[in-house]
């Protein structure tokens, strides 16, 4: 498996609290992605990065922000968590001529 670590793997948080999910890679891949997976919706892109400090929004970016200050780390922040953000979050990495490799996922529950 590609060297991708997501942390935490599980988290329960209260509505209105900030939450940060971390994706760490050891592959030195340029591209990193955050997705959320919900039944019936597949994987929806939240934000992605095409280099250090280079990020862009995906189709469901409202309520989320990201940062990438170094190649290996891509952070996803929920500024004020809501119940609609309860989901499974996946990080992925890729290079220009490779497929994407996925992390194990983070199950986030907002109560």
């Amino acid at each position: 498996d590609a060297g991708i670590t997501q942390s935490p793997r599980h988290k329960v948080t209260e509505t209105g609290t900030p939450v940060t999910l971390r994706c760490h890679q050891t592959e030195n891949h340029r591209y990193m992605y955050w997705y959320r997976q919900d039944p019936g919706h597949g994987l929806r892109l939240i934000h992605y990065s095409y280099g250090v400090k280079d990020t862009d929004k995906g189709e469901v970016s409202d309520g989320y922000s990201v940062s990438r200050s170094k190649t290996e780390d891509f952070l996803l922040t929920l500024e004020s968590a809501t119940s609609s953000q309860t989901s499974v979050y996946f990080c992925a990495i890729s290079e220009m001529n490779t497929e994407a490799f996925f992390g194990q996922g983070t199950r986030l529950t907002v109560v």
């Binding site: 591209y31 992605y33 597949g42 992605y48 992925a92 890729s94 497929e99 994407a100 996925f102």
Partner: protein
């Protein structure tokens, strides 16, 4: 904006039946195409990929897919499914631009009955 459509949301087959899952995409330029599989409780794993060359791509576990550029399609096929193929299948596309936004379809749940 690019998008991916998977028309079959849930497919139920008996073992040894043939499989074809549809995937259509919209994008105005050159694309790379992928099929991923997700077994219950696991992350996505690559089945096969198309970057260029022969439009008929062979992947793992006997799966194959055909890229038809004129139809913007990349359908997944397997001649004879097994119970162990029960999983969710996702088609994905990435455009040729430098940003490489990777977009997934909504997935097809395949159930294979023994």
């Amino acid at each position: 904006a690019q998008s991916v459509s998977q028309h079959n949301h849930h497919v139920i087959l008996s073992e040894a039946a043939s499989l074809e899952l549809g995937c259509n995409y919209s994008y105005g330029g050159t694309v790379n195409l992928f099929w991923y599989v997700q077994y219950p409780g696991q992350h996505l794993q690559l089945l096969l990929k198309y970057f260029s060359g022969d439009p008929l791509v062979k992947g793992i576990k006997g799966f194959e897919a055909e890229f038809i550029k004129s139809k913007f399609s990349f359908n997944l096929r397997k001649p004879s499914v097994q119970w162990s193929d029960t999983a969710e299948y996702f088609c994905a596309v990435v455009g040729s631009g430098s940003a490489r936004q990777l977009t997934f379809g909504s997935g097809t749940q395949l159930t294979v009955l023994p």
